[in-house]
Amino acid sequence: MVKSKPLILIAACLALGLIGFFIFYQTDAEKIRSRLADLSERISKTEPENELMAAGHAKKIADMFTDPCVLEIPETPYREVSGKFSRQDIRAYAMSGRARYAQIKLALYDISIDFPYETTADVRLTARVNAGAEGNGRPFDEFYELACQFQKIEGDWYINRVAAVAVLEK
């Protein structure tokens, strides 16, 4: 009777550990989905921001990409984004892009994830970018089908490549 107490404690600890594991453990696919949700949140902008806040957001966005990464999005309302970009480039691009719009909303739909290799993930999704004008920015509401590649580096997933898929070819 006396010895049952430690046993109960051990069992309770094990049960708690198991519950914690199931709650907090994320598969690679879940990690990528959560990364995309973070990206959507970081790109979105609901109110005007000062330069310091904008720089902070731009850094957080840039930190989600590998250095360098490849972007191939030929048709954006802002300008063509095609080529290899360093994190510094992405930070500068995010800063100037955010300054043009009072509100930005990025919504992601139909995310599908494949793992051709253990440290590489191919992701297909539809992105909707909705931006309200400020200054010289033109308001827009555009949809893109994107083919992205994620790279696993030291346990974390980073965006290595983003390419717009041509759904309609003129």
């Binding site: 739909y109 539809t126 089908e145 759904v167 003129k170």
Partner: protein, 165 residues
């Protein structure tokens, strides 16, 4: 007697038969509206005046189950999935050449009448051949410059279905 029937219809007794029926109706509704008649809301004026911005409709996924899309059919083209689709009109079929001259549509070099177009901007696009297993789709709203309108050829397997009305 009639009152009893109405009461039974409006307030059925929750028994096993009722529960089975409710589950069946829910399952059928789920299958119908998830896979066969996908509800959607039109966002934008690409298909004006045929379809207004904000209108509600259903995408009938069985429309092209047994036959391919034909010229002037209105089709829903999927992007990465079915959450976002483009609503467009088929104007060119595989193997045909499509061109625009001063806002008028030319198929295989011949001008084609488009009664659904209200006002046409003076689009000019050199002739291009539609690839095999593709169709050429354009929106009905030609009031905008060509650069601001999404149109072009797309694989037939991207076509999810046609609007119900």
């Amino acid at each position: 007697m009639l009152n009893q029937h109405i009461r039974n219809f409006l307030f059925p007794s929750v028994n096993r038969r009722f529960l089975i029926r409710a589950v069946l109706v829910a399952a059928l509704a789920f299958i119908l509206f998830k896979f066969i008649l996908i509800p959607f809301r039109i966002n934008g004026r690409s298909m004006a005046p045929t379809y207004a911005d904000g209108a509600l409709n259903f995408c009938n996924t069985l429309s092209y189950a047994f036959s391919p899309p034909e010229r002037f059919d209105i089709v829903a083209v999927r992007l990465a999935g079915r959450s976002v689709m483009l609503l467009k009109r088929v104007v060119g079929l595989a193997g045909e050449t499509v061109a625009f001259k001063n806002g008028r549509l030319y198929i295989n070099g011949e001008q084609t009448q488009e009664p659904y177009v209200a006002v046409a901007y003076d689009w000019t696009l050199a002739p291009r051949r539609v690839k095999p297993e593709h169709v050429y789709v354009v929106g009905d709203n030609r009031r905008v410059p060509m650069g601001q309108h999404h149109f072009g050829q797309t694989p037939v397997n991207r076509i999810v279905g046609a609007p119900l009305w």
